[in-house]
Each structure stands twice: as structure tokens, then as C-alpha cells.
Amino acid sequence: MTDRLDGNAIAGALQEVFGREMTTATGVCGHCGDSNRLGALAVYLAGPGTVARCPGCDAVLLVLAEVRGVTCVDALGFADLQPAG
């Protein structure tokens, strides 16, 4: 379960949190400036919560934690996050 997955794997969770399809949204890494669709992020599901990292530099971009049935999201790793038109 150490496997790295892609942002596609959390499409449902992202849509639930953001209220819209987010794997086609574009995020800019606040650490290295790399720009990627969220579907292309490196995703790790096998922890207490879900961590999505920059595929270029591995910086943490997004953390999803389900606390008592409510999914909390921290997207502070992005310098910019733009949903697809």
C-alpha cells in the first residue's frame, strides 16, 4: 500500500469537498512552481489521511483528512489553484 497513485484516485473525494470536478483543475506548486492538473498529482492514500504531492518536487500540496465523517481539506501547498473553465 505504499504505492503512489495519481490524482484520479481521489476524484470523488475532491469533488465532494470542492463541489465540482477538480482533477482537471490546474494547481501551481508553491515550492517549485510546477503547474499540474490535479489528476496528475502524486497521491498517497495509505495514511491516516490522504496526501497529494507535487509530481515534480514531492512537496505536499493537498491534504484530505476525514474527521468524524467530515472531510477537511488543506490546499495550502498550492501557490495557485484554478478550476478548469
Binding site: R4, N8, Q15, T23, R37, G39
Partner: protein, 248 residues
């Protein structure tokens, strides 16, 4: 007509299993009756949720194996022996059972029949599943975009959708190449050995044609294939990947 999934708030719905069919000894297709299914795009996913009698729940995301134009929603699931959900779906689930679904979700690893550029699909093992939806959709929509599929399986018996892929290979605009990495039946005319730079150079569109590239399979397979494609000169920004983990 543009099919658009209804977005916004996701909710769980019940789907009834109509039929479970074996694709290989490890892989079954589950045909579902999902009332009010909003439609989907080829390559999208569905989240599946199971609930035990003590309230314990497990949730996984699966690629949709059926085309948007197919009448029924189909998931194809490979049993992972140390898994929690996939052994249930493959071994235990039967017609008449009900499971919870949420979706369709995703939009990144998606192919549309209106896409005009050539597409290269590279599958490892059960990574063929979303590509089956794309190839079916290609046929149903009579897409003019040429598609090449390179599919890596261990043995001939482990080739999922074998008959259908052979039929598809006969169609115009679709090229199917299969490589068997572990053993080949007598008289095998396809490729042998792992997907590597040499094989990709042979079957893929040249980078100058700017194909849309989709790679789906186990994490290691996807990493190696994507790296080889970049090495051949493909634009990393045009390579979409979908890694199947061992989490199911």
C-alpha cells in the same frame, strides 16, 4: 450530442448487480443496474462503498469498463489477494446483490470521441479497463481519431477482454498490439517481453504527431512506461497516467 455528467454534490446511490462474468481467473466484470445513472465519459471512475453488518465501511475507486453509449454500467475488478474489497467483489458478489456507488468522478484521464488527435493507450494488466471504455466509445461514436493500444499481460490467459480486443483490432482506425511478458502460447504472433523503449518506439505515434498518450497499470509499470515515453521525446504534459495501487 455532448454527454455531460451531472456535477456538483455527489451522492451515493444503490446499484443492483445484474450479472458477474469471469474475464480471467483473477478478474471479473460486474454488470450493474444503476437507476438514474447520469452518464459518464470514457475513462471516468466510480467510487464503490461496502458496509459490513457491524457498520464498518470500505470504499474504493474503480475505472468504468463500459462505454458511455453502452446500456449497462460495467466495472471490471481484479482480485488482489491481500485486498479487502476486490476479493469480495470478485469472489462473493452475485446477481441480485446491491452495492453503493458514487459518480461518475474524474475528468483528467478521459478520452472524448471529439478529440481529433491520434491517441496512444498503454495498458499493464488490469490497466486495460478504462481503455476498453475508450475503444468502445471510439466505435460507437465512429470517431475519426486513430487509436493505438499497447497492452502488456503476463500470459495469454491473463489478457482481459481477449475476444473483444481481437475483434476491435480488425476495425479501421484501431490498432491493437499485445505483448506477453511471461509465457506465450504456441504460434503466438504478438510481441513478447516487457514494454520498453524499443517496443514503444515501434508501436507509438512519433512524438512529432503530438499524440494524446494515456498510460494505465500498476505503479511500477506506469513509471517505467512514462519515463520511456519522455525519453523518446513525448511531451510530459501530454502523457496522462493512472496508477493502480495495491490498495483494493
Amino acid at each position: 450530442m455532448e454527454r455531460t455528467a451531472v456535477l456538483g454534490r455527489l451522492s451515493w446511490r444503490f446499484a443492483t448487480v445484474l450479472e458477474v462474468t469471469a474475464e480471467t481467473d483473477q478478474t471479473h466484470s460486474i454488470v450493474l443496474d444503476a437507476p438514474d445513472w447520469p452518464g459518464h465519459l470514457a475513462g471516468q471512475h466510480v467510487d464503490v462503498r461496502l458496509t459490513a453488518d457491524d457498520g464498518y465501511q470500505a470504499q474504493r475507486s474503480y475505472s468504468i469498463a463500459s462505454a458511455p453509449s453502452d446500456e449497462q454500467l460495467v466495472l471490471t475488478v481484479e482480485r488482489l489477494d491481500d485486498g479487502e474489497v476486490s476479493p469480495y467483489l470478485v469472489d462473493e458478489l452475485r446477481a441480485g446483490d446491491r452495492i453503493e456507488l458514487r459518480g461518475p468522478v474524474g475528468g483528467y484521464f478521459v478520452w472524448r470521441p471529439t478529440d481529433a488527435v491520434p491517441a496512444l493507450l498503454v495498458a499493464g494488466g488490469s490497466g486495460i479497463v478504462p481503455f476498453r471504455a475508450m475503444l468502445r466509445e471510439h466505435g460507437a461514436a465512429m470517431s475519426a481519431a486513430p487509436i493505438r493500444l499497447l497492452y502488456s499481460a503476463r500470459t495469454f490467459d491473463q489478457v482481459i477482454y481477449r475476444e473483444e480486443l481481437l475483434r476491435l483490432a480488425a476495425r479501421d482506425g484501431i490498432d491493437v498490439s499485445i505483448t506477453l511478458t511471461r509465457a506465450q502460447p504456441a504460434g503466438w504472433h504478438g510481441y513478447t517481453g516487457r514494454v520498453d523503449t524499443a517496443l514503444l518506439r515501434q508501436v507509438s505515434w512519433p512524438p512529432e504527431e503530438h499524440p494524446a498518450v494515456y498510460v494505465c497499470g500498476p505503479t511500477g509499470f506506469v513509471e517505467a512506461t512514462a519515463n520511456a515515453l519522455v525519453g523518446l521525446g513525448h511531451d510530459p504534459g501530454r502523457i496522462r497516467t493512472e496508477r493502480f495501487g495495491g490498495t483494493s
